[in-house]
């Protein structure tokens, strides 16, 4: 590790966070409150769940479902982090060409972001997971093994995402791809051990702990090599693609969709969402529970694909001269439709596979409900805190705004549901009314952003 380079990268990320906080102190205060609040809420939720789950975790099937849900989320998060990690070009030409081994330079750039994300995400996650694992039959050892297995899954997810990217871009490197696939399988086996540990087997916990360390170290090294050799996207035939969209969509919607779908980070997020959604569906189908599997898979896919609506506000700002030609309401509606279509592109394969595997209509409606809430919340958050893809501070602020808006939406939805139920309104109608209100708020917020831009 090159300490001067790592130290400079850490300093830069810290300054970016501080600059974002100084630029929008209110958002920073809300984000800090959301972070503290989410940690406290996670601890409470974890403690509550621990009481309910601890007797059930003796059943290996239940332990497996719990570990699978967490492992899938960790893998998706790892893949998203890995794919959006800045390359060594983020150092600038002079430093990228400096006499530092490329792997070391990439580790320095990526570790700065990883450290910041870990510091932000670890407290609420540990607060939620630790009580459940510790209260279970496996105790502290199983909890440690589960946390280690989740870390290994995150690394394996990042490595697997690089493999998927190489497959998509038709740049197969047989040895590296075989290693990535082996790491993914090892991570799955580690999760199985962790599940047995959570169900009460101490030797399985020890095995999971040791295997997690091995998978994590090997996976990190494989990811570094793969990310350094990441094939660049070849220039596409954008004009042709846009012409095809224009046959179906009006010009504003097709232009907004083109802007969203050609952003590399959004494309990767959509692909990651679809990929992990499909993996989740497959795993749930193997476990024999396609219904709850769809909700889990669609949730993961929607959260990853939510980057499209979250970025809409920032993208509007980038080309304000173009959107100012249309009325703010029309432009906002165009962006909302384009964001919805982008999310649909990631969710459609998951729902299709779920349909084939026999998911029920209520499960599909619940998944659609979750996706609309995530999309609307992301649009609102992106409209108030535009994500301009300008580094960690920018991403962190947008993500904090997203979490806050989701929490507000969920709390508002729950309050509205109980109030409407008291008036005798059917739950389905209440849900539709609430979703309509959320979408209206989202378009209104976006309209404000277009007008301000």
């Amino acid at each position: 590790m090159s300490w001067p380079l790592s130290e400079a990268c850490l300093r830069v990320e810290a300054r970016r966070l501080a600059a974002r906080a100084c630029a929008a102190p209110l958002v920073a205060a809300v984000a800090a409150c959301a972070w503290l609040g989410s940690s406290a809420l996670a601890l409470r939720a974890g403690s509550t769940a621990a009481h309910a789950l601890s007797p059930l975790l003796l059943d290996l099937h239940v332990a497996r479902v719990v570990v699978l849900s967490l492992a899938l989320s960790a893998s998706a998060a790892g893949a998203a982090l890995g794919l959006t990690a800045p390359g060594i070009t983020a150092l600038g030409g002079t430093l990228a060409a400096a006499p530092v081994p490329p792997r070391v330079a990439l580790a320095a750039v990526a570790s700065a972001r990883l450290t910041a994300v870990t510091l932000l995400a670890a407290p609420p996650l540990v607060a939620a997971v630790a009580p459940v694992a510790v209260a279970g039959p496996g105790g502290v050892l199983a909890g440690s093994a589960l946390v280690a297995a989740l870390c290994a899954c995150a690394v394996a997810g990042a490595s697997l995402a690089e493999l998927a990217l190489r497959l998509v871009r038709q740049r197969i490197i047989r040895r590296a791809d075989a290693i990535s696939a082996a790491i993914a399988l090892s991570a799955a086996a580690t999760c199985e051990c962790a599940a047995s540990g959570v169900a009460g087997s101490a030797p399985a916990s020890v095995t999971a702990l040791l295997a997690s360390v091995a998978v994590g170290v090997l996976g990190a090294r494989t990811w570094l090599d793969a990310a350094l050799e990441r094939p660049v996207a070849m220039p596409g035939r954008g004009r042709g693609a846009r012409q095809r969209w224009r046959r179906i969509l009006p010009v504003l919607e097709s232009a907004a969709l083109a802007v969203l779908l050609r952003a590399p980070d959004i494309r990767l997020a959509l692909a990651t969402g679809a990929g992990f959604g499909l993996v989740g569906m497959g795993a749930a189908s193997v476990a024999g529970d396609a219904g709850s599997g769809l909700l889990l898979a669609a949730g993961v896919a929607a959260l990853a694909a939510g980057l499209a609506p979250l970025s809409a506000g920032g993208r509007v700002e980038l080309a304000r001269w173009a959107w100012s030609a249309a009325s703010p309401g029309r432009a906002a509606a165009g962006w909302a439709v384009a964001s919805g279509l982008a999310m649909t592109a990631a969710l459609a394969p998951v729902v299709l596979v779920a349909g084939v595997l026999g998911a029920t209509m209520p499960a599909m409606l619940q998944s659609a409900h979750a996706a609309v809430v995530v999309g609307a919340a992301a649009l609102v958050a992106g409209a108030f805190v535009p994500r301009r893809a300008a580094g960690l501070g920018d991403d962190a602020a947008a993500l904090a705004a997203f979490v806050t808006v989701v929490a507000l939406f969920l709390a508002g939805g729950e309050a509205a549901r109980s109030r409407l139920a008291a008036f005798g309104v059917a739950e389905a109608i209440g849900m539709c009314l609430w979703l309509l209100l959320a979408c209206t708020v989202a378009v209104g917020a976006l309209r404000r952003r277009v007008r301000l831009a």
Partner: protein
């Protein structure tokens, strides 16, 4: 002592020998069999229309861009290896990156990574004072104008005592005073025995500064000679006229004028 140094420089491998460089981006051929040689003490200018492959060639020499075919050797080491990186100072066209560092921190970081020592630091201070950049030493790079950011990158790159200096879009965004400093700094590096490879669209600067001018068009070297020789081949009064003749754009001015008048 000085004679011994000169003899050592003569024995030292050429700062850059690149042969048959090929690079393709999808269906676009960026480099198509480009040969480049930069000797010690020589300043070579790459000129050519936009998209002719100048930046691609420079990136290939730094090792930041993989080649489809061909090879580049920097001071006797294959381009991109750690030894070759130690021998190269690169000043990019767009000096983005760790923009939250101050100018001083950025320059210090580059000098530290190259193990430049006190001599490099003195050179950096002298260059910064010549450019007037020392007054912005504590300012963050991202808060500066593009010209000042380029000056910061120039200070960091030209302070290094390395066999090969690469400067992309040498005069882009620089004010006339900074161009003079850049010219003198590159001449000083050349006098010290380093090779300089620069890409530029400023043909007056190339004519004044470069010992050899390489004309690239569509990824192919169409001419490589001293500026004076290039002018005399085409009987052109300026390098600009010679350049337009080399790239097949000799009647460009008349054609555009005619087409616009016809509209």
């Amino acid at each position: 002592m000085q004679r011994g140094g000169r003899a050592a420089r003569r024995r030292a491998p050429a700062p850059l020998v690149a042969r048959a460089l090929r690079k393709r981006f999808g269906s676009t051929i960026a480099l198509d069999g480009v040969d480049l040689t930069v000797s010690g003490g020589e300043i070579v200018g790459l000129v050519g229309p936009n998209g002719s492959g100048k930046t691609t060639a420079i990136l290939a020499v730094t090792g930041l861009l993989g080649l489809d075919a061909g090879h580049a050797v920097v001071a006797g080491h294959p381009a991109g290896t750690l030894a070759a990186r130690r021998a190269v100072a690169y000043v990019p066209d767009e000096p983005g990156g760790l923009d939250e560092l101050t100018v001083g921190e950025l320059v210090e970081l580059v000098l530290t990574l190259h193990a430049a020592g006190e001599r490099g630091r003195r050179r950096a201070r002298a260059l910064a004072e010549s450019l007037g950049l020392h007054r912005r030493w504590q300012d963050r790079v991202g808060a500066l104008s593009r010209g000042l950011r380029r000056q910061a990158a120039l200070v960091a790159g030209l302070a290094l005592d390395v066999p090969l200096v690469l400067v992309d879009e040498a005069t882009a965004a620089l004010d006339p005073e900074a161009v003079v400093v850049l010219d003198e700094a590159m001449q000083a590096r050349a006098r010290a025995g380093a090779g300089v490879l620069l890409a530029t669209q400023d043909l007056h600067f190339a004519e004044r500064t470069c010992h050899t001018v390489v004309v690239l068009a569509a990824g192919v070297v169409v001419a490589a000679a001293e500026p004076r020789a290039l002018r005399s081949w085409h009987g052109a009064p300026t390098l600009e006229e010679a350049f337009l003749a080399e790239t097949g754009s000799g009647l460009l001015r008349e054609r555009v004028r005619h087409e616009l008048a016809a509209l």
